[in-house]
Symmetry: C2
Subunit: 386 residues, 2 copies
């Protein structure tokens, strides 16, 4: 079993870059937030990965980087984090709000004193969408006169373009997801529940090197498959139902998802029409993508093409979203996305069509290159009738 | 396969109670937050369970209850939620911050207009520890003159005492966790990695009725086992190492964890001494608990007893924490916990001892009764040498 691990040299490169960006931005200290479901910012800079408690990472203009953890994670963090400066702060505790009356903890005043030194004037926050009010308030209390600004862009811009190591981890993550996809298709039968198939998928992921699921697996059958976002349940897979599989491994912090619509038995003609239309749009989307193309153009073409082939009313959202540590990252590709695709950006091409009775999704990862995209997955791109 | 589901009558009871508490508290509307990792408040009142996006639940003094979701979760929420009033609000979107330029969404002004009517004067927030700044700001913007107060206690107090249905779901959850524990012990070998054993555990959980993991599984071997909070990795289980298993299923939203220290081969004498001391303290803790006992007394006895038997320096935190939807819930049992145990409170008796080389945890669920506690798990309470 290969042990997937980002080399120290890659972290060193990230640290140098993030300090440079903090200085350019004119902030004294950047504080980024992560939690168990959304671990990316902290993992990206420290390799630490919160569970039960939340976590933060602080980067000062002096060039210091520190991991911020809750009261119980110290031994784990000491072994796991590449950043050796660690503060234990109450506000990163579990949501059950234990008080740890006999523990001596750090606070943001100490962080600012040691990492900034002089009076803190400007604080940048990242992971703003998940930034908890208690952490925000503790920061304000420790530096009441400081200006606080949203600074997601620093880490987002760094994370958008993938390094060779990151691309390798993504490839491995997709490779493992496809092994689990094949195992799922081999194992499924009409009497099995959605959740039982999830168990088979999870076993295959961990057996083949995943460190965790890239996302909770989708095994959504029949009407459940029209949930753009959904959870598997106790329904039997049955015969003739559209069964949507989205299978995702995570490797060294990099997540993937491979999406295929499957049927036990024959697909109905309407099902087949939409499944084939989805596959057509999925392939077209990949053809439209290459470095230099404006993201909004791909999204507009996607919706126009959908109208043209008669599935306009079956579409819910744009054709792609960013991919990296989280299976859904910035940037999204929407009709108002005014950025240009660049080499080594990675996307999930995520072609979701739905109607009242079912939904279906073709999903694969791609790397943007000069002349097009390089696929990160692509097995079983066909009508799958088991 | 049994389909685990909380009956509608139970939700009706919860809705009546929460509206009564909102009125008593003198707030116009309560807004509770959940996310993928910490789903409890929303699940408790709606049965909906966020994934990728976050979610909220609003309860007004008029008696209205609404589910608040992100832009992509509508079809899922319509099928899943017991509450039929649903608002789609941008601030509950994914952390990748898609903008959904072509979607018409709701906002908090609409929520307040429809659910409160008159001018909103007092807003209560729950799930404060995970309440995201953007949701908080959107609420303030929609009701700039309203007073905003932390109101976690309303739902916490309701959730602390378990109903018969809740106890049944917890029992099922532990039953499934123990099946997976036995499967893990039967399957483990020294060449297997921690993560490969996680895969076997996950398969057993889903195969036997779990809807998800109660928490990410712990398979922590050797030095990794001294992480009070930790993540499994690529280390082989090996021979003679302490291997800490914590296995948790989730059923109808109710989570469990069964913790056992295991060794492939013979435990060393120091390992055996600490494992036996932990088991002794674990059993004693259960003996000290019954309705009417002050929580701090149990915690104080725990630390005193640890000193007495020579493991005082091996303890990190108090003897129990609340159990319910989350595997770690309020209330914790600490030396400053000034509440009294009540009938049908549920706890994880969580006896964690650690030293430099390893850590170990005996963990079982219990229900507080008049004369003691009723165990929710208890298989393999012995020295486990495979």
């Amino acid at each position: 079993m290969r042990e997937y691990r980002i080399p120290d040299s890659e972290f060193k490169r990230r640290w140098e870059k993030v300090v440079e960006e903090v200085r350019k931005k004119g902030i004294d200290i950047l504080i980024a937030q992560s939690n168990e479901a959304d671990f990316a910012n902290v993992r990206y800079l420290t390799d630490y990965w919160p569970i039960f408690e939340t976590a933060g990472v602080a980067v000062s203009k002096k060039g210091d980087i520190a991991l911020l953890i809750g009261p119980e994670s110290e031994t784990f963090a000491l072994d796991r984090s590449r950043v050796k400066k660690i503060y234990r702060i109450l506000q990163y505790r579990e949501s059950a709000e234990p008080e740890y009356p006999d523990m001596e903890l750090d606070d943001f005043s100490k962080v600012f004193r040691e990492m900034v030194g002089e009076k803190v004037r400007k604080i940048g926050l990242a992971g703003y969408q998940i930034f908890p009010v208690p952490v925000y308030e503790a920061i304000k209390e420790a530096a009441p006169e400081a200006e606080i600004i949203k600074s997601d862009d620093i880490l987002v811009n760094m994370r958008i373009i993938k390094s060779p190591v990151e691309l390798e981890m993504l490839k491995e993550s997709f490779r493992i997801s496809e092994i689990a996809l094949e195992e799922a298709i081999k194992s499924m039968n009409s009497e099995m529940t959605e959740l039982q198939l999830v168990g088979i998928i999870e076993k295959a992921l961990y057996e083949n090197g995943a460190e965790y699921e890239g996302h909770p697996q989708y095994v959504l059958s029949g009407k459940n498959s029209n949930h753009a976002i959904g959870r598997p349940g106790y329904d039997k897979l049955g015969k003739g139902k559209l069964i949507q599989l989205n299978i995702g491994a995570r490797v060294a912090g990099y997540s993937s998802s491979v999406g295929r619509p499957v049927c036990i038995g024959k697909m109905s003609s309407e099902m087949r029409r939409l499944v084939e239309a989805g596959l057509d749009m999925h392939r077209k989307t990949m053809e439209w993508m290459k470095a230099g193309v404006k993201a909004s153009e791909v999204a507009k073409k996607f919706f126009e093409y959908g109208e043209k082939i008669g599935v306009g009313k079956n579409l819910l959202y744009g054709p792609c979203h960013g991919l990296g540590m989280l299976e859904v990252e910035k940037p999204w590709m929407e009709t108002n996305s005014n950025y240009y695709l660049e080499e080594n950006m990675t996307f999930q091409v995520d072609t979701f069509l739905y109607c009242d009775e079912f939904g279906l999704r073709w999903e694969n990862g791609v790397v943007v290159k000069k002349d097009g995209v390089e696929p990160l997955s692509g097995k079983l791109m066909e009508i799958i009738e088991v």
